[in-house]
Each structure stands twice: as C-alpha cells, then as structure tokens.
C-alpha cells in the first residue's frame, strides 16, 4: 500500500507557523525579479498539474524525512505560487461578469414587500446591463475627491471648534449600499428579548466573551534611504491600545538625514470606530523641529476604503493660525501570499506660507513610494523599494531659493515589523 504525503496533515506548500526563514527567501529579496520569474514558472491553470506538484512535493517530504527541510521547501515561492494557480472561473462555473456588476442602487429601491411573492422568472429578467454603470459614490464611505478639492484659501481662518462640530455621522451615514453601513430604518427590529429578565451574576465567568483590550505596534517603515542628494534613516510607525471600538493611537514619522535629525511628526489620538471600516481620530500632534517645536490639534479619519485602500486623512490646526491637511493612502498587491508590493501615496497641504520652514500654502508636497516586502512571518518582513517625492507651488519656490532639490528619488531598504 502506498501512502501519500503523510506530513502531519499539512498540504505541501501551505506555509507553516514554524516554517520561517530560509536562504532562498533572502535570495529572493536581493533579486526580486528572479523571485517573480520563479513564481510564474510555478503557475499553471491546470488542476492536474497542481496535483502533480502536490505529489512531487510529498515525495520530497517523505524522502527527506526532515521536517525542517520540508518546511523550507514548502516556503519557497515556487511552491507557494503553485498553490494559488487554481482556475476559479472553472471551479465556480459562474458568470461573474453578471454577478459583479449588480446594481445596488436598484436593490435599494426594491420593494421588499413585493418580493415575498416574487416570481422567479421575473428575477431572471433582471437587467444586468445596467449594472456596469453602478454609482460608486454610493458605496464609497468617503468622497476623497472632495477632500482633495477642498478650497484651501478657506482653511486659513479655519476655526477648530467648527471642525469639531463637523457632522461625522453624516459622513459615515453615507450610503455604502444596502449590504453595508447605513443607519437602521425606523421600524428596525428590537434586539431585546429579555422580557425584563436581567442577566445572571456571572460569578466565575473567566472567559471575557467580548471584552478585550489589546495593544499593537506596527512599524510600517524602518528603513535606510539613499539618493543622489541625501541619505539617511526613516521611521513610520503606529501603535494602539484599547478595545474593539475605542483605542488610544500613537503615530510617529521621522527621519535622520546625513547625520542630522529632520523634522519629526508625532501624534496622540483617540480612535473611535464610527463604522465597519473607519475610525474617527481626534487628538494632538507635536512636531520636533530644527527651530521651535510645533503643536497642532488634529482630527481625521483612518480606515479601509472600498477596494482595500488603507487611508488616513487628517486636518490640523496649529498655533498662529497654521492649518494643514495630510492624506496618506496605501495599497497592497499580493504577488504571492508572502511577496507583497505596497504602493503608497502621501501628500501635505498647508493653509498659509511659513517661509521659515520653507512651507508654502496650498499643495506642498507629494510622495509616492513603492515597496516590495517579503513576509518571512506575518510580523517580520524585510523590503526594498523606491520613493519619489516632489515639492509643489510656493514650497517648491522656497526650496529652489534655498538651492534645495524640488524633486528627489530615493532607494530604500528596511524592515516592516508588528507585534
């Protein structure tokens, strides 16, 4: 009797907790192009080929009989790639184009009372052609284009108290489509089935069943950068402590260039979850500068926009009428389960000129980064990347006047860590 792949019930290629670092992975980092090529080689749409791969791997496991070797083998990008090559379209046998385009706005308006007795044949006849024309703004939680297009001249005299008074509930109440977000209709069901009976004393309940406070630290970028103009180190991190819905949030971004500390932005915020994917953040920002430090009040949103964009948008009001707006968006492209390409965009806008700091009003700078990381574990990922940045408007003028570069392109290498 033949026995296949008796590897403790693990599938060859599925990454294991303990299967961490290997030389192959590091090699991959050094030569990402090669790694990608490998991945492609391991990719086939044929399920039979996939099974063949399975068997080959298992044979390897059985022969070597050494778990560690097997794990390393499994962790190579080739194996990882092979596993993800299934043809979903075949499996599902489904015409996705029709499904995906479903018109939510139509569902919205559907009369549910009539649905009860609905005739199937009629549903069949739903008009899919309209679906492509879906109104995304209805599903989007936040309209970023509006934010971008904000009239900056008005920010000048912005009153912080007014910002506080911004109606965030409206923002979040924006229609995400019927399945997500929104607010309850007036006749929504009452979830109270207690008949006035109160909960038991709960003595000895050591499970928390919902109550938990956790802490997390994410060092998103901890890197060495290098360009024609300068080189140095940079850090961009966030940490939080709290419950599901209320967290104390700390952010830090700073750099050291040619041995000199650059300006460092630090923020202490209260993050209150206001919808499934968004938190409202209010708090303070403190900038450590060459000159006198700057203090700001901060308010903004952080969360996950549709299509998986990780977004931070924060408005600041500082001393002597300073105002600023910061926007940051990140995206993750999974080349494989562990090899992840992360583009990110950051831009700063200011309310008024600050010649001493070389900052002009309006759009001040834009930074676009592209980092390729390899998650040796979820929590430990080295990366390489390139960051392009440019100053605009009055800020660019100040830079030119000071004989500084308006545009810069850096190569970066670093670590992404969290715990």
């Amino acid at each position: 009797m033949r026995t296949m792949k008796i590897d403790n019930g693990k599938i060859p290629g599925y990454p294991l907790v303990n299967g961490a670092c290997s030389v192959a992975l590091l090699a991959l980092l050094i030569a990402p192009g090669v790694g990608l090529a490998q991945t492609d080689t391991g990719t086939t749409g044929d399920p039979h080929a996939q099974h063949a791969e399975h068997q080959v791997n298992s044979a390897g496991v059985a022969e070597e009989g050494d778990e560690k070797t097997a794990e390393q083998k499994n962790a190579t990008p080739k194996a990882a790639g092979a596993k993800h090559d299934m043809d979903h379209s075949k499996m599902e046998g489904t015409d996705h184009s029709q499904m995906e385009g479903m018109d939510h706005s139509q569902m919205e308006g559907m009369d549910h009372s009539q649905m009860e007795g609905m005739d199937h044949s009629q549903m069949e006849g739903m008009d899919h052609s309209q679906m492509e024309g879906m109104d995304q703004s209805q599903i989007e939680g936040m309209d970023h284009s509006k934010m971008e297009g904000m009239d900056h001249s008005k920010m000048e005299g912005m009153d912080h108290s007014q910002m506080e008074g911004m109606d965030h509930s409206k923002m979040e109440g924006m229609d995400h489509g019927r399945m997500q977000g929104g607010s309850p209709p007036p006749d929504a069901r009452d979830p109270d089935y207690s008949d006035g009976v109160s909960a038991g004393p709960m003595h000895g309940m050591h499970g928390m069943h919902g109550e938990s406070r956790l802490a997390s630290v994410l060092i998103d970028q901890f890197e060495q950068f290098d360009s024609d103009n300068e080189s140095g180190q940079a850090i961009n991190m966030q940490a939080w402590y709290g419950s599901d819905l209320n967290k104390l949030w700390f952010k830090l971004e700073g750099e050291r260039s040619d041995g000199r500390m650059g300006s460092t932005r630090s923020e202490l915020l209260w993050n209150k979850a206001v919808s499934a994917y968004w938190g409202l953040q209010t708090g303070i920002r403190h900038d450590f500068e060459d000159g006198p430090d700057l203090n700001w009040a901060a308010i903004g949103f952080q969360g996950l926009a549709p299509y998986w964009f990780e977004v931070q948008a924060t408005a600041y009001v500082g001393e002597s009428g300073r105002t600023a707006l910061r926007f940051e968006a990140e995206y993750e492209i999974l080349l494989t389960q562990r090899l992840i390409l992360q583009p990110d965009l950051e831009t700063n806008l200011y309310g008024k000129d600050d010649p001493a700091r070389g900052i002009g009003s309006g759009l001040s700078d834009v930074q676009f980064g592209l980092r390729l990381r390899y998650e040796i574990t979820r929590k430990f990922a080295p990366y390489v990347g390139v960051v392009w940045s440019r100053k605009y408007g009055q800020t660019a003028d100040y830079a030119q006047a000071a004989d500084e570069n308006v545009e810069d392109t850096q190569l970066v290498a670093g670590l992404r860590l969290w715990f």
């Binding site: 596993k83 599903i139 979850a273």
Partner: protein
C-alpha cells in the same frame, strides 16, 4: 451477536459493565506496536490510544500534560493525562457521578455537550456554577435521559483549544437501533503550538492572519489571460468594493493547526480494525476549536444513522461536512480485506487528518489529495438575491448538481428583519434576502460528483419531541466584522447584550439569519433545537446547528428546562469575541 465497544483503536472488547470504579479500560496495544515516531515515546499521551471509562462513578483529574503533535513539545490541558480526554461510556437511565478535580493553576470547568441535565450541572462558569477553582473538586451528578454520541469539553477560556475535550457514548437501554459488530469513536480536533491567547490577539489585529490563500496578482493575471482583463476585473469587483475576501473560508488554518483523529496526527494514522463483512459504527465527533471538516472514506458508502446523538432515518452518503461540536454516527460495511482511509479535510482546504480502517494493524490506504480551495460565491454573500436572479449557476453547471435545481431555488423567499443594532462598527455586512435552502452542502462540496449529506437529508426517527407549533418567534442574526474580528448576535457582543428570555413550558421558533460569509455552528445548551425545513416542517433534532453564509434557518425549541443556559457560536474564537448569549428559561 452483542455489540462490542472499542471506542479506541484496539479490537479489545469492552463489556458494557457497571463496575463501580473503573480505571481505564485499556486500549491501544495495536498502535503501540505500530512503531510510532520515536518523538512520541517520551510523551505521556500516546496518540490514538484512548482510554475508555465506563460505569456510573468517575474521577476526572484536570491537569497539564506534555504532548507533541507537531515535532515541538507543548503542555496540553488534559483529563487524566490524555488528549483527547478519556471516552466516557454511560448507559441511558443511569445516574452518573463525576468528581472533577482541578490541578491547574487557573479555574476550569467541564460542559457535557448535548446532555440534558439540570442547569447547575451544565458546567458553564457564570451560568451554571462558579467554575472549579484551582485545587478544588466539583461533583457533577445527573440522570441520563437520552442515548447516543456526545462529547464533553472545558467551557473556560481557551482550554478547549489546548486539549480539554473527550467523547461521551450513552448506550440505549434497549440496545442500539442499528446494531453493529464494531463501534469506534472518531474524534476530530485541531491542535496549535501557539498560545491561544496569542492566536486570538493575532486575529484581532489581522483578521486574515492565518489565511495564506488570499487572491493574488498571479491569480488575477491567470484569470485575465483566460477570461480577459475585463472579466477578471469584474470577477473581483464586488468583493473588493465591499472589502470582503472570497477566500475567507476559515479564520484559523493549517498554518498553525495540526489536525487530529482521536489524538493521532495523519502521520500517526489512527487505525480501527474490522473483519470482512462486519458492520462498523463510526461515531464522528468534531471536537475542534475552529475547524469544520469534510469527511469521506474512499471506497466505502457511509450510512448516517444518527446526528447529534439522535437516531435518524438511515441515509447513505459518500461524504459529509461536520461542523464544530456536531456529531454524526455512520455505519460502514467493508466488503474487502483491504485498508480504507478515513479522510477528513478542513473546509478551507489547507490541511487534513486521516485514519485507517483495516483488517489488521499497520496497514494504510492511499490518501486522496486535498481538494483545491474554492472561492465563496455570490450565494454565500447575498443569499437568495444571488440565487434567485439565476446568477449562481452557469448553464453548464446544473448537470452534476446532486440536489435538484428545483428544490434549491424554490425555497420560499424571505426578507431578513435586521435589528437596529446591526448598523454599527461591529458589522461589515447584512443579508437582506437570505437563502432558506437547507439542501446545499456548502462551499467546496457543491457539485463535486459525490453524494454529500445536507440537513435536508436528515430526518429524526419518531418526529419532534413536542407536537405543538410555535407560540411565538425570536429572530436573531449572526453578525460580525472580519477586519476588526468582532463577532456577535444582532451586532451586540455578549458583554453588551441582555439575556434572551424563554418562558418556561413554551414552544417557540428561533430564526437565525447569518449576516456573515462564514458558517457558524450555533449551540443551545440544555434544550433541543428542532430544525425545520423552509416550509416549516420538522426535519431533525440537534444540539448544534450550522448556519451557512447568507442563510436563514429556523428551529423550534421547547423551553422545558429551567435555568440559565449558554447560547453561542461554537467556533471558539467567535464565542470569545462575543458571539454568545445567555438564555434564561423561567
């Protein structure tokens, strides 16, 4: 011929005796002779070698015991030093006494899953009693009003994950309705070397921490080559817009889990012996913390004769899905003198465990490859909305369907009645038109060419325990947010929720709507859940009911047991995250 019990891998017959104080009725000689990997030699828990305790008086010692399932030694939470805990063999009508001593440094508890008993004996800290403090002994005593396959486990924090679970077999007074020559417990479970607290925190910080089957750019380019760029984009559009992953099949995967049958890994190969022509009863129990298994025995038809301990009209299947906490008794009749693989792959298709049925020890059969994981479909996200519009099945897809398209789509359409608390940050989606079909085997099993058991196939023999119709209805929605890893009923976590009140003596209908894309096995303590079909007719009596993604199911409950009862999703980390309610019968 009298039934012989070997709730273990040995063919050593254990008489159903009523000795007052029993030590382990030994088993396991067979496995010991199999030449297990030497790494287990030091371990005091031998995989696959299960103790069976029978009688009416039991002393159970909860402690910590070194184990090694993955190649790395860890401490497990054990009963009498074994993982799983010993099989408890009881007899219907007996009054059993169990003295449970806590040798841990933290409080503990044992819940007798599916057993009807007074609320004070149910073993849920906070409801039934205060738990068992370190060094203390708690004496459980109750009369057995039922027979069948059940199980027991800790109800304290994550002790169920670290090994505190075992099988219960209650023999019927009048003998088994379906007598067999062999009788084995097949207890499936999942083991992690990680501290469950860390595992839970990982999920809280990153919902897909353990998912390494997420859609990739490589998948996309393959799709684009095959179906065109636009189509490939369209396939992903809805998911990405909603920030949902179609690959979200299980929260915890083989990345950290090692799967076990009776405490044996796939490599250890738990083996049940048979002689040709014998009927073999396999009592499958899913004692996992988080893993839903799909079980089959290539080459053998399985006749399902009981679900959750209750006898059902025999139904012959090739495969069945067993959710966490469910039990299924199946009978197989191997006609050849060859080995058969008992194959249990997880719903997310990242791992499996296998055992073997064989005429002699040391044999094994071919182990099938794990099926490729499938993406969730629109049906799993939108329920009847997707099905009704005929979007679920392509035209060529219907052929292999084992359940007629008619029954599938003719289930009555129902509009979900969302609670006003379902619009907050803890909920990432709601299903307005859930599907009501119970004849869907679920993601990964649809149209696979095998006869797969569904709830529609299960009919409890003898009908409902209570002929009354429901006096009223209670609707509860299963809700969650994968990104925040929050889980709840009606958007309210346990710590924020009021109890659910059942009036003593009433018969009521519970309506569950799954507003998530994951199956949730929902367990009501102390009272039976009598599942109905979409037309409101009695189907099957269970203690744990799996509600599939975007599905609405209903069941009737007779509130005939006074007290405070736990009501929760049996996925351990969902329960601990808040998908839990107190039910008060008064």
């Amino acid at each position: 011929m009298a039934s012989r019990f070997h709730f273990s891998n040995s063919d050593f017959p254990i008489a159903a005796s009523r000795r007052r104080f029993l030590q382990a009725a030994l088993a396991g000689g067979v496995v010991a002779g199999l030449g297990l990997a030497p790494r287990f030699a030091w371990s005091s828990t031998s995989p696959g070698k299960q103790q069976t305790l029978s009688g009416t008086q039991f002393d159970l010692d909860i402690g910590e015991t070194p184990v090694n399932f993955s190649g790395a030694g860890r401490m497990a939470t054990t009963v009498n030093g074994t993982v799983p805990a010993p099989i408890l063999h009881w007899r219907e009508g007996d009054t059993v006494t169990l003295r449970v001593k806590n040798h841990l440094s933290v409080p503990t508890s044992i819940h007798w899953h599916g057993i009807l008993l007074p609320t004070g004996m149910d073993g849920v800290p906070g409801f039934s009693f205060d738990g068992i403090a370190p060094g203390e002994t708690f004496e459980y005593q109750f009369e057995l009003k039922q027979s069948g396959t059940y199980w027991y486990h800790s109800h304290s924090r994550f002790q169920e994950q670290t090994g505190l679970y075992g099988a219960i077999v209650v023999s019927p007074r009048g003998g088994e309705r379906f007598p067999t020559q062999r009788d084995y417990v097949v207890l499936l479970s999942d083991w992690t070397d990680e501290d469950p607290e860390v595992l839970f925190a990982n999920l809280k910080k990153m919902g897909d921490y353990y998912n390494f089957n997420e859609p990739t750019a490589v998948d996309f380019s393959n799709d684009a080559l095959k179906m065109g760029f636009k189509q490939a984009l369209a396939k992903r559009k809805m998911w990405n817009k909603m920030r949902m992953s179609p690959a979200d099949l299980a929260d915890v995967t083989a990345h950290t889990y090692t799967y076990l049958i009776n405490g044996a890994t796939a490599g250890d190969n738990w083996t049940g012996l048979f002689e040709r022509g014998e009927k073999v009863r396999l009592r499958f129990i899913n004692g996992s913390a988080m893993s839903i298994f799909d079980v089959r025995i290539p080459g053998l038809k399985m006749t399902v004769v009981a679900a959750d301990g209750q006898d059902v009209e025999p139904i012959s299947v090739d495969e069945f899905r067993i959710a966490v906490a469910e039990t299924y008794d199946v009978i197989v009749e191997p006609s050849d003198e060859v080995a058969y693989t008992v194959f249990a792959q997880t719903i997310d298709r990242t791992g499996y465990v296998r055992g073997t049925l064989a005429p002699s020890a040391g044999m094994s059969a071919e182990v099938p490859a794990v099926d490729p994981p499938q993406w969730l479909t629109m049906k799993d996200m939108m329920g009847a909305m997707a099905m009704g519009a005929g979007m679920e099945h392509g035209p060529g897809d219907m052929k292999g369907m084992q359940h007629g398209a008619a029954t599938d789509s003719m289930a009555p359409m129902v509009i979900a009645n969302h609670a006003r608390t379902e619009y907050g940050p803890g909920i990432d989606m709601r299903v307005d038109m859930p599907r009501t079909n119970i004849d869907d085997p679920g993601i990964g099993l649809r149209n696979n060419g095998r006869k797969v058991l569904t709830y529609a196939d299960l009919h409890t023999i003898g009908g409902p325990i209570d002929p009354r119709g429901p006096g009223r209805e209670i609707e509860l929605h299963l809700t969650g947010n994968m990104e925040r890893y929050m889980w709840s009923f009606d958007g309210e976590k346990f710590n924020n929720a009021k109890p659910v009140h059942f009036r003593y003596g009433e018969r009521l209908r519970v309506i569950l709507v799954n507003d998530t894309m994951m199956p949730h096995p929902v367990h009501l303590h102390g009272l039976w859940s009598e599942l109905e079909n979409p037309n409101g007719e009695f189907q099957v009596r269970k203690h744990t009911i799996m509600v599939q993604p975007a599905q609405r199911i209903t069941y009737l409950v007779s509130a005939d047991a006074l007290g405070r009862w736990a009501y929760h999703c049996h996925l351990l980390y969902h329960m601990e995250a808040g998908m839990f309610r107190e039910v008060v019968v008064s």
